[in-house]
């Protein structure tokens, strides 16, 4: 009984009264739900193919009264099958006619997707102005606004967003400690293993302290920490500010007369400017610890010797340089992230694009600026005579 009923309900097209030239008679439930069954749809497609459309010289008479249920999708299917025109002869109930009438009247030709002409594209492209000029203006606005905000803070320190600052310090600094330590430690171990092989060839085992100390403290520590923080905090800042833009929180702040620069950008920039040097030193220490352990096991250089030798191999100016460099990295990451966050448009795609752009730009900038530092300070921080 149940199977009988199910077969009856499946949509199909038959000859009425099973005559050779009788009108086509669709039967069963012509609904979206029925079409969503793979088996029923395949069967229906086959039987529709047999019921040749009127244009192709098939029978032009249709009898819809056998249809159990006809919804808009079913009606659309019939209408499209008829070549978007009424068949010559048709029998149908008033409710079926209502549905088909609606489909017929609304079956407009789909509008063309708007496609900009070449001239239009060119005009739009040049209307934005030269890319470099625009970028320069944006950077200038960003840095200028930050300077104004810092002056404002210096004039009235008691009105500064200190609670925000401490929150960001915790979020961007403290919670980054475990991951940076782990990455630093492993890089230190790997670097020590690699160099120890080469040094042993020359019998210059003791120089591992100089190589590890200089490269880790001066270059790898700050850059590693900056890349990790750009991925961690840079994306978080962009997403936070971007969502605030989507939910109109930014507009609400502006209406209340609370400037974005002072309350959103400056605390984040300050927090990263303070946290970044600390994280970078922390990463360097972890990396040195890793290198020290590896040197002990591969070259028999004792930790005591390592620690005694380190200050002689790495002059103090290197640490100053690393700290200054890291502060600049922190400021860059925060500024770039805030900038991309403010430019997010109210849709999900733009948020994703903004976050990606923020991370990629800040990592690239970190490496560019690091190269600049390397060139500018090439005469500073190397102990004379090795």
């Amino acid at each position: 009984m149940l199977t009988d009923r199910r077969d009856d309900a499946s949509p199909r097209v038959e000859r009425a009264q099973a005559q050779e030239h009788g009108p086509w008679a669709p039967r069963g439930r012509w609904t979206a739900l029925a079409f969503s069954s793979p088996r029923q749809w395949a069967a229906l497609e086959k039987s529709l193919d047999e019921a040749v459309s009127p244009q192709a010289g098939g029978s032009t008479a249709w009898d819809l009264r056998g249809i159990e249920a006809l919804d808009h999708i079913g009606a659309q299917l019939l209408w499209n099958h008829w070549g978007r025109a009424w068949p010559a002869q048709i029998e149908l109930t008033p409710s079926q006619k209502a549905v088909l009438d609606q489909v017929a009247s609304y079956s407009a030709a789909p509008p063309e997707a708007p496609q900009a002409s070449f001239a239009e594209e060119m005009r739009r492209h040049f209307a934005k102005g030269p890319v470099l000029l625009r970028l320069a203006r944006e950077v200038l606005t960003l840095v200028g606004q930050l300077t104004f905000d810092l002056v404002k803070l210096a004039r009235a320190p008691h009105r500064g967003p200190w609670r925000d600052l401490s929150g960001h310090l915790y979020q961007m600094g403290t919670t980054a400690l475990p991951i940076t330590a782990l990455v630093g430690l492993l890089i230190g171990v790997v670097l020590a293993y690699l160099t120890s092989n080469q040094l042993r060839n020359y019998g210059a085992e003791a120089f591992i302290v100089n190589i590890l100390g200089l490269s880790l403290i001066r270059e790898l520590g700050p850059v590693l920490a900056a890349v990790l923080v750009a991925g961690r905090s840079g994306s978080a800042i962009t997403a936070q500010i971007g969502v605030m833009r989507v939910t109109e929180e930014l507009d609400a702040m502006r209406v209340m007369g609370i400037p974005h620069g002072f309350r959103l950008v400056m605390p984040r920039v300050l927090a990263l400017a303070i946290a970044m040097p600390l994280i970078s030193m922390w990463t360097s220490i972890a990396a040195l610890a890793g290198g020290m352990l590896a040197a002990d096991s591969t070259l028999d250089i004792s930790p005591v010797f390592f620690i005694q030798q380190l200050p002689r191999a790495v002059p103090f100016s290197n640490i100053v340089l690393a700290v200054a460099k890291s502060a600049v990295f922190g400021i860059l990451i925060a500024l770039i992230a805030c900038h991309h966050g403010m430019r997010v448009e109210p849709n999900t795609e733009s948020l994703g694009r903004g976050t990606t752009a923020s991370v990629v730009t800040s990592i690239t900038m970190v490496i560019l600026v690091d190269a600049l530092f390397a060139v500018l300070f090439r005469g500073i921080g190397f102990s004379i005579g090795g």
Partner: protein
């Protein structure tokens, strides 16, 4: 048994939604909070039922439980004779939902948004899907020229209309609306109500809506269910609900706004 999900939805005269013995308890920091206590509700086929209640009485939670998005702590919800979880295989073909803010996919244009549930079947030919989406777009009163706009470029009223078209794309027998007229101007609200009434008549829908808009409420609903004291205290036509003696109903319908809306309704009925 495996093909049961594709069987026609022939549930006879069974109610479209049946809820009984429903408990919803939220565990919060400040202890447990009972939202629904032994709640019962029946929604018959072809009704337009409005859920009314003060803030925090669990109207939207109830709607989400009917959709199967949330599970009650205790008790049973049956939609078209089956638990809501079993309906998810049929999805948009059974229940259409208009979310309060539209919930349009911001990465798709209007036409692709409306066509999305149909296209996800991955079976129907592309021209059929597109035509069906265009028909629904025009049924909700928007011209084909809006088909290629992105959701971000639409006004609030247009977002609601597009979302309604998407909810209706597979002609589901049950339509749920969360605050359908919130955020629309009076003219847009009126035309949206007119549209809903027309669709209800044409498609034979069962509509369940949550609304705070008294005009919409009295204008559209065939029955009103009032949520208070953690249960449905009364469910019936407007006249019956207003006569029910409860402080919430007194404040809600017989306050100055309620009186105005009732007066307007009376006049409207007398004229037509």
């Amino acid at each position: 048994m495996h093909s049961s999900a594709w069987q026609p939805l022939d549930h006879g005269d069974a109610p479209v939604v049946e809820i009984h013995g429903l408990w919803t308890v939220f565990a919060g920091d400040s202890g447990e909070q009972v939202v629904h206590r032994d709640l019962a509700l029946r929604i018959e086929r072809g009704e337009i039922l409005s859920l009314v209640g003060g803030s925090g009485t669990g109207k939207t939670v109830l709607l989400r439980q009917i959709l199967g998005l949330e599970h009650p702590t205790r008790g049973e919800v049956r939609v078209l004779g089956v638990p809501p979880a079993a309906l998810s295989a049929k999805g948009a073909a059974v229940v259409g939902m208009l979310f309060q803010h539209g919930a349009l996919f911001s990465a798709f244009n209007v036409l692709d948004n409306i066509a999305f549930p149909l296209r996800e079947l991955k079976r129907l030919p592309e021209d059929l899907v597109r035509d069906a989406a265009l028909v629904k777009l025009q049924m909700v009163g928007l011209g084909p020229e809006h088909a290629h706009k992105m959701p971000a470029d639409l006004s609030g009223g247009m977002v609601k209309r597009v979302a309604l078209a998407r909810a209706l794309i597979m002609d589901p027998p049950l339509l749920l609306l969360d605050e359908p007229t919130a955020g629309l101007d009076p003219a847009a609200s009126d035309s949206f109500c007119e549209l809903l009434r027309g669709l209800h008549r044409e498609l034979g829908l069962t509509v369940v809506m949550v609304t705070h808009d008294l005009d919409t409420l009295l204008d559209l609903s065939t029955r009103i269910a009032v949520l208070a004291d953690q249960k449905v205290i009364v469910a019936g036509p407007a006249e019956e609900v207003i006569r029910f003696d409860h402080p919430f109903i007194h404040d809600y319908f017989l306050g100055s706004r309620g009186r105005r809306a009732l007066l307007a309704l009376d006049e409207h009925r007398r004229r037509s």
